[in-house]
């Protein structure tokens, strides 16, 4: 039997998230590179509709893994169901998106099977028949090429945005769908989760802003936020921040940009003293123009910036505000 790549997609409220489609794209690329079969699986309760959506893509087969116990996500039920399925179908490579849900259960699943996961990968390559998976380390300051040193199944998760969802290939005909019913004993599931909710109503909608001035820990003290606010005002934009600034209460939570905050796509994103951790970048890399000011010339934020200023923000921002005021009188 040919080797198989299995992509396990993620659904929430009956919809696949975009990073699931991206992971199928990763699977298609890996299948081309290796010549292995590409299959997909979706786990839940009543997921045949989703399975047929996936079956329209270039995959050889789709499994609908079903159990009433999978209706609500718990790590126990998901790890148990996928362990049963993977142990019997024996894929060589198992791919999943690196979402909060997957990172909650995939280390458990891999450990239960005596295997390992290479997490949060941004790409792969094949060198002399060996697959290398590239992942960030040291908060994005380095990338690492990592190989599996043990037996398959090999588990890999891919980072949000690592592959382009619009590159997905459709199949010539719909792939066959197989329903797999899994029995999960009551005692297996120990956590009792409640519905997901959003905290307070958001006072600002940063997604609509065309100019955003964002501050990170480089701003040093709460009182210095004022300086960034002046810059935002001069530009007629909104102020936003990285997570530690909101955690410290220096700006309200609804000003946070990133994976646990808002995702924005302004005309201009001006980052002051932000290092560029991936959890921040996913929230702003869609900005049309990115300007970054950082005193560290190797800060990862510069990897995605259009214009970079290596320097002390406290030296740069005051004259910048003055220059802006010269060309754009306060309204």
């Amino acid at each position: 039997m040919a080797d198989t790549i299995l992509v396990v997609v993620e659904q929430r409220e009956g919809k696949l998230n975009r990073v699931s489609w991206e992971t199928i794209v990763a699977g298609q690329a890996l299948a081309r590179e290796t010549g292995w079969n590409l299959e997909a699986a979706v786990a839940g309760n009543n997921v045949s509709g989703l399975a047929s959506e996936v079956a329209a893509k270039a995959v050889t087969k789709v499994y609908a893994i079903e159990s009433p116990k999978l209706a609500t996500y718990t790590p126990d039920a998901f790890a148990a169901a996928l362990k049963q399925f993977i142990a019997s179908s024996q894929p060589k490579l198992v791919l999943m998106p690196h979402t909060y849900q997957v990172r909650d259960f995939i280390p458990k699943l891999a450990t239960a099977m005596g295997r390992t996961v290479i997490t949060d990968c941004i790409g792969f390559k094949k060198e002399k028949e060996i697959l290398l998976f590239t992942r960030q380390m040291f908060q994005g300051k380095f990338a690492a090429d990592v190989t599996f040193a043990g037996d398959p199944p090999w588990f890999v998760t891919f980072q949000n945005g690592a592959f382009r969802a619009d590159k997905i290939e459709s199949g010539a005909a719909a792939a066959p769908i197989e329903n797999v019913n899994i029995e999960i004993a009551d005692a297996v599931v120990r956590n009792r989760p409640e519905e997901a909710f959003k905290e307070a109503k958001q006072a600002v909608d940063l997604t609509q802003a065309s100019v955003i001035v964002a501050v990170g820990r480089g701003i040093k003290e709460q009182k210095n936020i004022e300086l960034a606010k002046q810059l935002a005002e001069a530009l007629g934009g909104e102020i936003a921040a990285s997570r530690p600034i909101c955690d410290s209460g220096w700006l309200p939570m609804d000003r946070q940009v990133g994976s646990s905050g808002q995702t924005v796509a302004p005309q201009l994103y001006l980052a002051l003293g932000i290092s560029g951790a991936i959890q921040h970048l996913v929230g702003m890399k869609g900005a049309r123009t990115i300007i970054a000011v950082n005193k560290d010339s190797e800060a990862p934020i510069f990897e995605i910036a259009d214009y970079a200023v290596v320097g002390n923000l406290f030296d740069i921002v005051p004259p910048l505000i003055e220059e802006i005021k010269k060309v754009k009188p306060a309204s």
């Binding site: 458990k108 290398l132 990592v146 120990r190 530009l235 004259p319």
Partner: protein, 256 residues
């Protein structure tokens, strides 16, 4: 409640990092600090102890230098510490780190184990969840709040894009703590003094070796990431840079 806090020493956030000769890890001559979420995990454990009584134990696996994180934990109020001391712990994958930690505490009965949600150096985002599976305990990740209920706990998990979720779960359990769950305290002078007399158990690599296996993943090499945009670096004195930026804002970004 008896709580174990897993704490890792990582390079300081601002430390300039250089690759070692083999290109597989960084040169170790940098300054280190406590992995950020682990500091929040310790703080949370101390707060739980203040509310419900019990004991807080800090544990780390790393070379001699990493004892510093345990010293800090003791100074802030942890009751005792466990140091798995060996430079070899740095090169383990998440499964082996978790196995080593589990082996070191096999004779203890904890109600809760806290880890950070991920480390700033390796960033596996796995160790806590793997540890839970090895112990056969339930777990919950990315935790922003913990309350005791009758015979278990109720935790608040952070989800993507501003969503949260409450989860009820039994004890014992492993929780991976998110930065920002609380406000960190500073060590006091008295605390630092008292720390000197608190117990610190040393565990050697040889003691936990039987529990370990070969690493199942291997870093072949590290490299500086590829740029995805064509970045133009603006140089000069601040006033010149300000002028150049305004030019870009007008003519390229077109926001002025």
């Amino acid at each position: 409640m008896k709580i174990l806090v897993c704490m890792k020493q990582v390079p300081q956030k601002d430390a300039p990092l250089k690759l070692n000769e083999a290109g597989t890890w960084i040169r170790e001559d940098v300054s280190y600090e406590v992995n950020e979420p682990d500091a929040f995990a310790l703080e949370e454990a101390l707060r739980q102890k203040e509310k419900h009584g019990g004991e807080v134990v800090a544990i780390t696996a790393g070379p001699a230098r990493s004892q510093q994180v345990l010293r800090e934990a003791l100074a802030k109020g942890a009751d005792r510490a466990i140091h798995l001391e060996d430079a070899g712990f740095v090169g383990l994958d998440a499964l082996n780190v978790a196995r080593a930690l589990a082996a070191a505490i096999k004779d203890e009965q904890f109600d809760l184990i806290f880890t950070g949600l991920q480390s700033d150096d390796q960033g596996y985002a796995q160790t806590g969840v793997v540890l839970a599976e090895l112990l056969g305990w339930p777990h919950a990740t990315i935790i922003m709040q913990i309350e005791r209920t009758g015979d278990g706990i109720r935790v608040k998990r952070e989800l993507e894009a501003g969503f949260f979720q409450f989860v009820d779960m039994p004890l014992p359990a492993v929780l991976t703590i998110q930065s920002g769950i609380n406000k960190l305290r500073y060590a006091t002078l008295i605390g630092i003094k008292q720390a000197k007399n608190k117990p610190m158990r040393k565990v050697t690599m040889a003691e936990v070796q039987p529990a370990l296996g070969p690493n199942l993943q291997k870093v072949e090499r590290l490299h500086v990431p590829q740029k995805t945009r064509n970045t133009e670096f603006l140089e000069g004195a601040p006033a010149e840079i300000a002028k150049k930026l305004v030019d870009k804002l007008r003519n390229e970004a077109r926001v002025l």
